[in-house]
Symmetry: C2
Subunit: 406 residues, 2 copies
């Protein structure tokens, strides 16, 4: 559908006029549609009456009754309750589908068929719809019907096998990174499908999986393995393919990372750390030497860096033009001026919590800026508004509420 | 520009007819345009004559002269050499810009102005162009002019502060995950801008950064911190906010992960691991008990799981419907039938290496499938073809080659 002209004096958002029928749960699906909501799409989140979706329960704070998880994954969406196991609940969804541009879900395999939400059924109500599906393992193959989640994908994609130390456990990244990568990849698939439809009129199915998204996330490292057959050791404090001082070091008050010291920067680096003699040390004079003798080199650096604070080192390293940075904890991240200046953390007026700060949207558009559309919806907050818009009468809506349909 | 009708009997790809002027280097920019190439865009990678971009050198295999990194980041693109420090080189680029839909780069701040590739200049040749820029730290703020890369972003976004064990170093994820997340987020910004332009005619600038993409990747965990002020400990073998058996365990021959055992699955899980008595153990009977006494519970599980192989445990856990999976190494990943069935790893005919396998594209479109368009280009492989297309004469092209312009 064409977009309206811009509001007077106000920039439109990138997806203004796009409507999303959203059955997502937890993170992989829900963060994808959150990106669409930030970009101005109208996202109608359909939840079961009563408890709502799993994300509302996950990590609910007992004092406030608010879930940081649900807020982080669902702000700016609308919430409609509908019991999808009832014919009336399905009727509501089909009416919505006929007016939406995209239908999104990350149900476990088999669920959509039971609920009448499979592609064929949805498409019969809207042939041009984009039907977007995020799974754990993909649509084909022996595990296509299996459930999976973030840590399972971190494990089965190989990421854990290269994270941590060789003498310890294979470790997950400390956040739900597979869910996030799955979500952004999913959003990319959805927007691309919208672009295809805009250019060709074609509606279609698009699907991504946690496993596939995480395999793609390791394109370099897996390609290297496929070319050489060499099984990578764990990355430990750095990265197996980047041996040239790509590593974390302890300082007097914390940790810093170096992101590579190349040929041209080596002598300046030695000067900056007050160890000019290393530049002429035969073991380390050449790149090849530094790679070959890196255990000895790193042992020296492990003695050097703990002698001063992180801030002192970052200042000292500046003239050497070294790629480096502090290891921030979360307090430092949310207060870093760079993070605030770019709206990566933004203020939000929350109906229960008042003025709070949340994570912003990561893409900056100059002419059609994305922005948070509001707090997370309470369960069924928009049920009445949406049902009235579909033509249901006020009394009928009350009755459906009493019957547990919405 | 409108897309052509479909080829007879052949499905079009999602971005057919879209042309990308690509100055990207390394990963954050280059993987973004690789996704566009997989989706059918014509991606013209502009490289300096002589050595080409950094990615060609990174990890070059001495035996074959092929870089797994460059292959993984640039397959299916075209390579044009142009010396951007010469007026003639700039002229070529401006001619290209006027016929392209998107101009993409991840130069260090300040470089585009020196090379005449800033937005204002490029736009003067094509007012409708999408000008896409990926940086380390974003366009605003005190660090906007600083260089940064993957491990710096993993460090400064807080990811490393929650990865690893509390008594050890903060660790990076074992692959260049910040570059990847930055790249997919970048591709999402580019495609969204194309959709906006298709709907409204508006060209614009779009930018993402490693730091912003990585902050967004921790939306849940950072929002939890912002709401509670509780600094998270490192995730260790699991995830701080998911204490209910979301963890990696050692088995007789490797490792497996459990992705949560909820209320309804607890007694079945106890049966599956042959420890029925735990279901009635007062310490673990309730969810709250299992969270509170998880150190004791995990100590028991750390004794149980090493008694059998990973495969045996996965089979045993199946009736309990437990979310679990093996920790695969790279050999196991690339041979997993699920990975192959979904084209996450695909065959590629390579001009130097012959039949090889590489990482596929992570998004499955039913009507406009994405697919690898070919191997990585050799340096300047398409220079002549592209220059002829721009109207340069054959002799002129030879002369420009001799003068180091292309």
């Amino acid at each position: 559908m064409p977009i309206d002209a811009r509001h007077k004096g106000e920039k439109m958002r990138p997806l203004e006029g796009i409507k999303i029928l959203d059955f997502t749960i937890a993170q992989q699906g829900a963060y994808a549609t959150l990106l669409l909501a930030d970009m101005g799409a109208e996202v109608i989140k359909v939840e079961p009456p009563g408890q709502g979706e799993l994300g509302r329960i996950l990590g609910k704070d007992r004092r406030t009754g608010i879930s940081a998880f649900f807020l982080a994954m669902n702000r700016g969406k609308k919430s409609l309750t509908a019991n999808l196991k009832t014919p009336k609940g399905q009727e509501i969804v089909y009416k919505l589908a006929s007016g939406c541009d995209v239908c999104v879900h990350n149900f476990q395999p088999g669920v959509t068929e039971k609920l009448g939400l499979d592609y064929e059924t949805i498409r019969s109500h809207n042939p041009r719809i984009i039907y977007a599906y995020a799974s754990a393992f993909g649509k084909a193959g022996p595990k296509r019907t299996m459930a999976g989640n973030d840590i399972v994908a971190q494990a089965m994609s190989g990421l854990m096998s290269v994270t941590g130390h060789d003498d310890g456990y294979p470790l997950p990244a400390g956040v739900t990174i597979a869910d996030h990568i799955g979500a952004v990849t999913f959003a990319l698939g959805i927007i691309t499908s919208l672009l295809v439809r805009e250019r060709s009129g074609l509606g279609q199915q698009v699907d991504v999986s946690l496993l596939g998204s995480m395999v793609a996330a390791q394109s370099w490292e897996l390609t290297y393995y496929l070319m050489t057959g060499e099984l990578p050791p764990r990355a430990g404090r750095g990265h197996q393919q980047l041996p040239l001082i790509w590593q974390v070091f302890r300082t007097a008050d914390g940790h810093l990372v170096l992101g590579g010291v190349d040929e041209g920067r080596w002598s300046g680096f030695c000067a900056a750390i007050g160890r000019e003699e290393l530049a002429h040390d035969p073991r380390f004079e050449t790149t090849r030497g530094r790679v070959k003798n890196r255990a000895e080199l790193f042992a020296i650096l492990d003695e050097v860096f703990p002698t001063r604070s992180t801030a002192e080192w970052l200042e000292a390293l500046e003239p050497a033009d070294a790629l480096c940075g502090p290891v921030y904890n979360y307090e430092q991240v949310v207060n870093e001026p760079q993070v605030i200046a770019n709206d990566y953390i933004v203020p939000l007026e929350h109906p229960q919590l008042g003025s709070i700060r949340v994570v912003g949207t990561p893409i900056a558009f100059s002419e059609t800026p994305a922005a948070i559309a509001g707090a997370e919806p309470s369960l069924g907050q928009h049920t009445q508004e949406i049902l009235l818009g579909l033509g249901y009468g006020a009394q009928e809506i009350v009755r459906m509420g009493e019957e547990g349909i919405v």
